[in-house]
Amino acid sequence: MKDLRKDLVLSKFSHIYIERDAKNHPNTRKIISKFKDATCIEIDHYKEVFCRGNQSIILQKESPKLILATKKDNFIYKGSEMCEDFGNLHFYYTSTIMNCFYNCEYCYLQGMYPSANIVIFVNIEDIFRKVEELLKSHSIYLCISYETDLLAFEGITSFVSKWIDFARKNDNLKIELRTKSGNFKAIENIKPLDNFILAWTLSHDEIIKKYEIGTPSLETRLKSINNAIKKGWKIRICFDPILYIKDWKKYYGNCIEETFKSIKLKNIYDVSIGVFRISKDYLKRVQKIRPHSKILAYPFECQSGICSYPKRYTKEMIEYVYNEVSKYIPEEKIYV
């Protein structure tokens, strides 16, 4: 494989595509003001750019473009069976941003979307309206950072702050914000909320360096967690996805030890554990995009359309991580 001549590649967000309908939205103006040198191109619909055929996700990851759009439908989705609902009855997720800053080799979004460019739906108020409607009939558990890393974008969008404001007004809404970022400082001045969980995904630094390209180190993530704990936020720790790689026990053992030795345990809301799993269709696409990936070339076993490691390995990994975590966290707070 020939390396990419990085010196020839444009900087991230060199171009911003803006839907005509989104042009005058205050969020659009705010976002554009952060990229003074970007070339802005007007479009009719985000799909004209986002859904072009034959796009190179690998190359786009090196120079992703922003697409500012308005969401017209599908404001909120029922939670997927592949995701933990943490015992919540009405589990939903929503995406105000599609795609992510970071470049994790195993990310399922590469198999889900035809492009690595980042779509920001600027009309977040329409999503709030939809959630309010649902809240009239029952309480909701809502994940807001599944198809992106929302906290990593906070400096550009301020969407996390807006979600916190929204959650403050609706106490029958429980929100989970999942992140790998070290960007807690972007929201550190906001008063913590009981119905807002900050969930950090953690990995060993070797795994971060090799497979979670562009994400902050474990130390940076832990610092953010500690600051959030100090401010009184509820914290979820996620060891997910656990990867079956050489010396996995050593890596995950060390990571768990480092985690719980460096953070105060008192505000840990719960811990979530899961091995790498992906839908069969996405896996096929991701394997095509990254033909030389060590983790994606694994001969996975597929059952009911979901691919993961053979049962005996899955069991061994979950048991090991569970046991290690339970040295620090009561078992009723550990979700598998």
Partner: protein, 277 residues
């Protein structure tokens, strides 16, 4: 390979000269000029001619997704901020008749000005000013882009236009067009060569020798299609972990199984050896 289309010979001439392209006399339907790295076709004027020529070119020369395609030619400028002779890399291409839009993926740095191009089916003049949405206008861009999109990814398809007039019915002679392009050819050619070499991902996992070894084992052990698929999957995983695939399969090369059951047993042993850790 780098593929170029121009509508007229006078637009192609400076490239033919600069890149030292030779006419391919085996092709009678179009004028095609080439060397080892470039193939240039003269399409004729208009959306249909340009899309036919692009399709012909990319099919005839067996284009690969790692190849680059460029439509080059003169254009009219609507935007007064442009200068005559200025080179514009089109970041949006509008087909005036259908309102379809096309976008190059602009991932590589470039020395040109960017702008939107609108492709018309007939000659555009000042009276049509209010209907023009692009910064510049031509009669081919959208046709070539749509055709090239069937073959290549959007970061390998570009329209590069040189402003020749401002829709003020100033018509240039063929010599003047060639002259206008001549100065820009070195810059454009240098950029195209640079991005052509910038990145190419090899999708090939096995060497020819490894392919051969896998084929022999599959045949000798009488593996079923499912087993063959599994073998290739495991072999890929083993290879990617920088292991010597030939070495691990070697002991099985001289084994021939007589029955399916025997084949299955050998396959299980082979599977074990291919487990990387």
């Amino acid at each position: 390979m780098i593929y170029i289309t121009t509508a007229m010979y006078c637009e192609a001439k400076p490239f033919i000269k600069y890149l030292n392209l030779k006419r391919d006399n085996s092709i009678k339907k179009f004028q095609v000029f080439k060397n080892e790295q470039f193939v240039l076709i003269i399409s004729g004027t208009g959306v249909i001619s340009s899309s036919i020529a692009t399709t012909y070119l990319l099919t005839e020369f067996n284009s690969k997704p790692s190849d680059t395609f460029i439509n080059i030619g003169i254009c009219g400028g609507k935007n007064k901020g442009l200068d005559k002779g200025e080179v514009v890399l089109c970041n949006k291409i509008i087909h005036h008749d259908t309102k379809r839009t096309y976008y190059s993926d602009i991932i590589f740095k470039h020395p040109f000005r960017e702008g939107s191009l609108e492709t018309f089916s007939n000659v555009v003049n000042k009276d049509m000013f209010s209907t023009i949405k692009g910064d510049i206008v031509d009669m081919e861009g959208a046709g070539t882009f749509k055709a090239a999109s069937i073959f290549l990814p959007p970061h390998r398809i570009y329209c590069i236009k040189i402003v020749s007039d401002f829709l003020d019915s100033e018509s240039l002679t063929k010599e003047e067009i060639s002259k206008l392009l001549e100065n820009k050819v070195p810059l454009i050619s240098k950029w195209i060569k640079e991005i052509e070499d910038a990145y190419s991902l090899s999708y090939k996992i096995f060497t020819d020798e490894e392919e051969k070894v896998l084929e022999i084992v599959t045949k000798n052990l009488k593996l079923t299609i499912t087993m063959e698929y599994k073998l290739r999957e495991l072999a890929k995983y083993y290879k990617i972990h920088s292991k010597d695939l030939i070495e691990v399969i070697k002991p099985f090369l001289n084994i021939t199984s007589k029955t399916k059951k025997e084949g299955k047993d050998y396959f299980e042993r082979l599977k074990k050896r291919l487990s990387p850790f």
